[in-house]
Structure formats: C-alpha cells, structure tokens
C-alpha cells in the first residue's frame, strides 16, 4: 500500500504540471488578456468553465490512476479484492448521472446570459450610440465603411476607445469571419446577408484583426490592424481622412474587388454603400458577376511578405 501512495503522489504531481503551466500561461494569451468588455465577458466565461473542467480532469485522473495502479494483476494481490461479477450499482450510477447534469446546468446559465448580452452594445458605454462600421470582406481584403463619417478604409481600421462599435458584417463573395481576438469573438461575413457584431476597446493600442474562416488561397493574408485610440485622436483621424483621402468611385471599387491581395492599405472620403450593399440579396452577386473568371486564377503565394500592411 505504501508504495502505491508514493506512486500516486508522483503521478498527481506530474499531472498537475500542465495545469499549473496552463493557468500561469493564460495571462499572456491574447484571448485570455482582452482589451475590451466583450472579450472580458468571454474570458470570464472561459475561466469560469475552466474551473469545472479542471475539477473533472482532476477527479477522473485521480480515479484512473488509483484504479490502474491498485487493480493491476500482480502476484500477491488480495483475492477478496477481485469481484469479477460486479455488474452495476444503482445509487452510484445515479450519482454520477446527476453530477454532470448539475455541471451542465451551471455552465448553461452564464452561457445563455452572455449570449444575450453579446447581442447588445457593451453596458459600459451604454449612454453613447455605438459607432456603426460596415465591415465587408472580399477575396482577400477588408473594406470598412463609416457611413456617418462618410469615409471608407481598406485593410485597416480606426476605432475610438470606450465606445461600442457596431460592425455590420457582410461579404462581397466567399464566407469570411471578422475576428479581433484581443477585443472579442468573431462572427461570419456572408454575401447576401448582414450580421451584427458588437466590440469595444477600452485600451489604446494596435490589435490584430483577421478573417478566420478559410476562404481560398489568400486566406492567410486577409488581415488588418485595428488602431484603438482616444475619441479626440479618432475624430482627428476622421477629419483628416475626410479632407485628404480621394473619393471612392464605383470603377475604382470594382477594381479593388478583384480577387487578390492589396499591397497597401487605402482610405477614401466616400463609401461603396451608395451603390451596393453586399449584405442584401441584390448585392450578393455583385462581385462574382464582375470578376467571374478571376476567382480561379492562382496567386502562388509563398510565406513572406505578401503585402505591406503587416
């Protein structure tokens, strides 16, 4: 018996190493170190669930280790310790049915609450209307239209901090997903449909954004930078763009829509929303009709610098 205990101690120690690593490493991982209330809510939910999961893992691992060490077939085992005809036990089976039910219930309630919360702008900035940005994905680039400001950027994004941003997501062609891990979870961009995603930054900074849903050859390059800045800096940037950026013409926009990767970010002092809304059924074939033959062309992308906005 003694050496069994010694063994199990060793095992428990060994098993707890990844757990310790996991918990200590968490603070450095993007998703676990969010920069806004949406990501914060999701992180809290993840941490909350992790406690349960760790609990389950520890229980199962301990039981498992105990069984495997104690009940190995080896000489000198107490024959009374072997019950080959044991076939069940109602009480204990009921107990281990009810426990998972309780765990699932404990996990369901905050999940549902958070789900409903995420469909609204964050509470911390409730007094202010959210900033509306149309985020349109196209093979393999991002268009961000600010209808209230009358500006549009390509492959980068400026947002004011401490204000909720209402992203209206759609796609000009393939299905994509807008994901800024530092700010919160993703949602799909789909042609002919519009989805809404609320995000908010509470800290100044430049965050990575990307398409996370595979959509062809240029997928890995479909990234953008999010500049979260103070409201005055943001307004300054808006004003400057309105004054200095060129107008977006339809032919220019059509050219930009052609499947491919843009070398540089762009900005315009008008938006494409005036002639097409890719989020409506009428807008769903806008890009494929114009560039039908271009989608099949290969870009022969290699690792390295495929554009300059990284």
């Amino acid at each position: 018996m003694k050496h069994i205990r010694k063994y199990s101690k060793k095992w428990i120690l060994l098993l707890s190493i990844p757990l310790i690593l996991m918990l200590s490493g968490c603070s450095e991982l993007t998703v676990m170190d969010p920069k806004g209330p949406v990501g914060e809510q999701q992180k809290d939910l993840i941490i909350y669930s992790l406690y349960f999961m760790m609990g389950i893992i520890v229980v199962v691992f301990v039981l498992f280790t105990f069984m495997v060490i104690k009940y190995r077939d080896k000489p000198g085992r107490d024959p009374k310790d072997y019950k080959p005809d044991m076939h069940g036990n109602k009480t204990i089976e009921t107990i281990w049915t009810i426990i998972p039910v309780i765990i699932v219930t404990c996990l369901s309630i905050p999940t549902v609450n958070t789900l409903f919360d995420l469909e609204k702008p964050a509470e911390s900035s409730a007094e202010e209307e959210p900033l509306v940005i149309y985020a349109t994905a196209a093979d393999w680039k991002w268009f961000f239209s600010y209808p209230e400001q009358g500006i549009e950027t390509v492959d980068y994004l400026h947002i004011p901090k401490d204000r909720s941003v209402e992203f209206r997501l759609s796609s000009a062609d393939s299905m994509s997903a807008l994901w800024i891990p530092a700010l919160g979870g993703q949602k799909y961009n789909m042609a002919g449909m519009q989805t809404t995603l609320y995000l908010q930054a509470d800290e100044n900074g430049v965050y990575q954004g990307r398409n996370s849903n595979f959509n062809g050859e240029g997928f890995a390059e479909q990234t953008f930078k999010v500049h979260a800045e103070s409201k005055s800096e943001f307004n300054e940037w808006v004003k400057q763009t309105q004054h200095s950026a060129p107008k977006l013409t339809q032919s220019k926009y059509n050219n930009l829509l052609e499947p491919g990767i843009l070398d540089d970010t762009k900005e315009f002092s008008s938006t494409h929303l005036q002639w097409v809304d890719h989020g409506s059924m009428e807008g769903s074939d806008y890009a494929v009709k114009r560039h039908w033959d271009a989608y099949g062309k290969k870009l022969h992308l290699k690792n390295g610098k495929n554009h300059n906005h990284e």
Binding site: I57, Y71, H87, Q186, T195, E217, F219, V288, Y295, G296
Partner: protein, 644 residues
C-alpha cells in the same frame, strides 16, 4: 484538354508522388505476375463475399489511408514549424489540409471501424455472415473505388482545396473551377453510398440474425454500438448524399442551390453538411466506445460495469447527435436564442458521455488489469479523451465559442476526441481481433514501443495547440507570426513522434507475420464473447453449430460451465453464398463514370452510368442460390482447426 492540364505539373512533391505511384503499381503487378497470383487475387479477394475477408480489405485500405492522411499531416506540421523553408505554398497547403481531413474521416476512420465490425459483429452475435453478403461486397468496393477516385486527384486534375467541409460559395463553380472539387464530391458520393448500404445491411444482420437466445440486452456491447451507429448512418447519410448531389449539380449542370447568383443560399450547405457531419462524428466515435468496452472488460477480467446504462447512453448520444449541428457555426449570427438552444443540447451530450467514462472506471474497480497492448490503448483513451471531452463542452458554450471558433483550440479539441477516441480504438480493436483475422498475435514488445511513441507524440502534438488557439492562431493558415513559433515546433515534434509510432506499428505487422507464434486455440485473450468461440482460422461458415445464448458474456458463461461451443452431433450442412465478381465490376464501371463526370465529360459519364445499370440488370437476373457445405467437410474442418 491538354495533357498538362490533365496531369498536375510543376510541383516536385507531386512528381515524387507520381513516381512513387508508378513504382508501387509496377511492383505490385510484377509480384502478382511473377508469383502467378492473379487468379488467387481474383478468387480469394476481389470476388469474395465473406465478411471476414471484406473486413480485412477494409482495414488494409484504411491503414493505407491512415498513411496517406498522416503524410499530409506531417507535411503540414513541417510547413508550420519551419515556415521560412517554404516547403509548401498557400495553394499546396490548402490542398493538403483538405485531403488530410477528408481522408482521415471518410476514408480512414469510418472504413477502419466498419472493417472491424465486419470482422467482429457477425462472430459476436453468432451469425454465419451478413444479411446481404453481396451488398457487403458492393459496399466495400464502393468505398474502395471512392477512396481511389479521391486519392488520384493529386496527380490527375488537381486536389480539392476548399477544406474537408467544402463550404460554399468557395467550393462552388465560380470560386473553385476545375476538377478538384468534383473529385471531392464524387469520391465521397461513391463511398457514401457504400456506407449507407452497409448501414442497412448490418442493421438487418444485427436485428434478425442473432444466435437463438441472444436478446438485444444480451448482445455484446460492440454489437450494440454498431447497431446504433447503423441507425445514425441510415438517417444521416442520405443528407450527405443529397448535399453532395446538389453541389455536384450546381457545379456541373448550373443549378443555383449554393451560388451567389440566382438567389442561391450558400449557407444551406453548412447546414446540410453538418446535419450529416455531426452525426458522422458519432458514427466514428460510438463504435470506438464499443471497442473500448470490450477490451476493458476482457483485460480487466471483469464484467462491464453498468451494461444497460452503457447501452442507453449510446442510444441517448445517438439521438442527441442529430440535434446539435448548429454548434459548428454558432458564429453565423442565428441569434442568441437559437445559439442558446443548441448550446444546451450540445453540453447535454456530456452527460451520457460522462456516465460512460465513470462506468469504464468502475469496470476497473476491483478488477485484475492485465496490461496487454490493446488494454494499453484502451487505458490511454480514458484520460486523453476526457481532455478532449471537457474542451468540447467549452466549445459548446456558444458565447465562448465566438473566441474558440476556427482557432487551433478547436483543432486541438477534435484531434483529442477523434484520435484518443477513434484512432486509439482502431489500434486497440485491430490488435485485439488480430489473431481472429490472421492467426497470430502482434508482438507485445514492439506493440508497446509503438504505443508509447504514438501516445506521447499525440499529447506533445495537440496539447500546445489549445494554447495556440487561445493566443488567436486561426486554423488553415500556412504561415504564422513569430509569437506562435515555439509551440508550433513542439507540436511538430509530437506529430513526428506519432509518425514513428505508426511506422513501428506497421513494422510490427511484418515482424509478427514472420516470427509470432501461431495461435492454437481460438481464444488467445481468454475472451468473453462469442467471437472467441470460433476456431482460428475462422472457417468460412463461422459457426459449425450456432450456439444457444442465455447470458450477457455468452462464451465466458460457456467456459465457466465447461461447455464446448462445438458439438459434432449437431452439425448440419451449411448454405453459403457464392463468390461473385459483379460488385467489383459494377463499382469499377460506376467509378469510371464518376471519373468522367469529374472532368465534366458528360457523354462518357452517361455511357458509364448505363454500364452500371446494365450490371444491375444482370444482377436482377442472377438466380445463383449459393452452395452447401456438407457435414463431413465441416466436421473435418473443425477437427483440424480445433486439434481434435
């Protein structure tokens, strides 16, 4: 069409592949000719309707596919560990993860398990064959040719490159022109039809052909899990058939189901795909549960704990599997209410699964565990699968899933459940039933080396991926940012560990074939269920006398009572189905038709289809009623096999 459009050109790796294919093919042809084995191949294998031989062919094909899918995986891991080496470009990487996923799920996991079912289920329930042996052969050839059609794509025409989920509109004609996606659609269609036929076949077999006295709740648990799996197949595979057909018609005949034009609805593909795809996950994991239950009970030398609860939890999991498909796209914006419903239904699956885990642990309680190689795989399954299971619950929490979705967290999760669940089970089951198939056991020492390489490699490979996911690394990217380098290198090391484990496993097959002691009894593991009541090698009729069953572990009871499963006085002539080449020829012709359709050569495809129909007509007029094996011949076979 030019020849250089037909063959894939410009990739050194693919040229190497072509050379390898040419060499292997000519070597096989040479060996068959040199040893005059063509007739043997035709008589013994290509025309067989014997479930045991068909099972062996399934498993050999699945091992070949495991090799192919594994090679794909190692290429991906190499690229991600050393992105600067430019081992793969974006296009090639996309092709490889697409084929990796498709091959592993459709052409490896499922056929491997169906192969094990072919071997074990009729023997476990005391049947002499499948209900429809001809259909069984047809199913196998449908799968085999489907797999070949899919695999040939990387040298002819070009591999599919839209992911194994093949989401539209990306996979539609507009954005993925050319034959690649057609290979995916038709390869899956062919093998899917074979799977559906197996579903019907095995379900009838289990429902109607059990040995007298074997009520459903006296049936071995692996047969139970197979029965439930067949239910899932019968109701889920038609959905895949329809989805694939609609996308094929979209691509080749210009309909507008999933297109961006004509008010098509690309999102419908995701729904149809996962309405099949989620049940599919359980198609590959429920039989695995069955295998582990058998192996654990056998080597714990103890009855399975909570048998009927185990059965009911399988049934419950199967039912729930049809009600959770939306969790594959929580991020589609269906709204908080829909996501809540599917979130809860998803997490609910954890309840029956958790119950199963505890039942396995309780089976070990007060047992006598013998550490054999199949038992090691089964034991490794429990903690590993739990690590995959709990992260599955986390993914099921829709609000958190917005962060996990499409990231390496997801990748780590499903590899944890599919490898620890399905692949470990395939190894456990193969090693466990290996003596039934080949007459000798696999070497234990080499088996243990393979086990440790594979299992440690597995954890080293996939544990870091949870952290990569939480750090925002999306799936399916061919290059990464420097922050993710270290963990990716670790992961790649693990992947190669698994590769070594697999290589050692394959070497063990060769080694054991040469050096392992031949089994003298039919019961090398001191088994509990009826398959161990048959002699080794198992005669083509399985049971000379069909046993009468009155308890759960039928053979165990027999042994306790000192009864022999064989009673010479009860031997009667046995009716057997004749071998036939028609399934092979028919599926060959249909595969040719599919190949033509891949290249959209419509008239050739139509001709092939007519050829297939003619084969069906010929079959309709086939009144071959098989033959009988005489009592004398049976007695002689049994005496020599049982050493009487």
């Amino acid at each position: 069409m030019q020849l250089d459009e037909f063959f894939v050109t410009g990739e050194p790796l693919i040229y190497a592949g072509m050379v390898a294919i040419a060499l292997v093919t000519s070597a096989v042809i040479f060996l068959l000719t040199y040893f005059k084995k063509w007739g043997w191949l035709w008589r013994e294998w290509l025309t067989t309707v014997d479930h045991k031989k068909i099972g062996i062919m399934y498993i050999l094909s699945a091992l070949a596919m495991l090799f192919r899918g594994g090679a794909d995986a190692l290429m991906m891991r190499t690229q991600l560990a050393f992105p600067d080496m430019n081992f793969l470009d974006a296009q090639h990487y996309n092709e490889i993860f697409t084929t990796h996923g498709t091959v592993m799920i459709i052409f490896m996991a499922m056929p491997f398990l169906i192969g094990l079912m072919n071997i074990a289920v009729p023997l476990q329930i005391g049947a002499r064959d499948f209900a429809f042996p001809y259909v069984n052969a047809l199913s196998f050839w449908a799968f085999f040719f489907g797999a070949m059609l899919f695999n040939i794509s990387f040298v002819i025409g070009g591999s599919p490159d839209a992911g194994w989920t093949s989401y539209t509109p990306l996979a539609g004609a507009a954005m993925s022109p050319g034959p690649g996606q057609n290979f995916y659609l038709l390869g899956l269609q062919l093998s899917g039809i074979g799977t559906l036929a197996t579903g019907v076949n095995l379900m009838v077999t289990i429902l109607k052909m059990r040995a007298p006295g074997m009520t459903l709740f006296k049936m071995p648990i692996f047969s139970w899990s197979s029965l439930i799996t067949m239910f899932i197949i019968v109701f889920a595979f038609p959905i895949l058939t329809v989805a694939l057909a609609l996308l094929t018609i979209d691509r080749i005949f210009g309909s507008q189901f999933f297109t961006l034009t004509g008010e098509g609805l690309p999102m419908m593909w995701a729904n149809l795909f996962w309405m099949w795809g989620h049940p599919e996950v359980y198609i590959v994991v429920l039989p695995a549960f069955g295998i582990f239950s058998e192996v654990i009970a056998t080597f714990a030398r103890k009855q399975l704990f909570g048998y009927s609860v185990m059965v009911w939890s399988i049934i419950l999991i199967a039912g729930l599997s049809f009600l959770v498909w939306v969790h594959h796209f929580f991020t589609m914006g269906a709204g908080a209410f829909v996501n809540s419903v599917f979130s809860v239904s998803t997490m609910a699956i954890a309840v029956p699964t958790g119950v199963k885990i505890f039942n396995w642990l309780a089976t070990l309680y007060k047992s006598k565990i013998q550490i054999t190689v199949p038992m090691m795989w089964a034991l490794a399954f429990i903690p590993s699968f739990v690590m995959g299971g709990v992260t599955g619950v986390m993914l099921g929490m829709a609000a958190a899933d917005y962060q996990f979705h499409n990231s390496y967290f997801l990748i780590a999760h499903f590899h944890y459940v599919l490898i620890a669940g399905t692949v470990f089970a395939c190894f456990a089951g193969l090693i466990y039933w290996y003596p039934k198939m080949f007459g000798h056991r696999l070497n234990e020492r080499i088996g243990k080396i393979a086990f440790w390489f594979f299992v440690i490699g597995f954890h080293v490979c996939f544990l870091p991926q949870y952290f990569l996911g939480l750090d925002g690394m999306p799936r399916r990217v061919f290059h990464i940012v420097p922050e993710w380098f270290n963990l990716n290198v670790v992961s790649t090391v693990g992947a190669f560990g698994m590769g070594i484990g697999f290589a050692v496993f394959v070497y063990n097959i060769y080694y054991s074939y040469r050096y392992s002691e031949r089994e003298k009894t039919g019961d090398p593991w001191n088994g509990r269920t009826l398959e161990w009541a048959t002699p080794i090698p198992v005669p083509e009729y399985n049971f000379a006398v069909v046993p009468h069953v009155d308890s759960l572990d039928a053979f165990w009871t027999m042994k306790e009572r000192g009864e022999s499963p064989y009673d010479e006085s009860k031997v009667k002539p046995i009716h057997m189905p004749s071998n036939t080449g028609k399934p092979f020829i028919m599926m060959g012709i249909l595969t040719l038709a599919s190949f033509f359709l891949v290249f959209e050569w419509i008239w050739l495809a139509a001709a092939g289809l007519i050829g297939g129909i003619i084969m069906m007509i010929i079959r309709s007029f086939d009144y071959d009623e098989g033959y009988h094996i005489s009592s004398e011949e049976i007695i002689e076979t049994e005496r020599s096999a049982r050493g009487l």
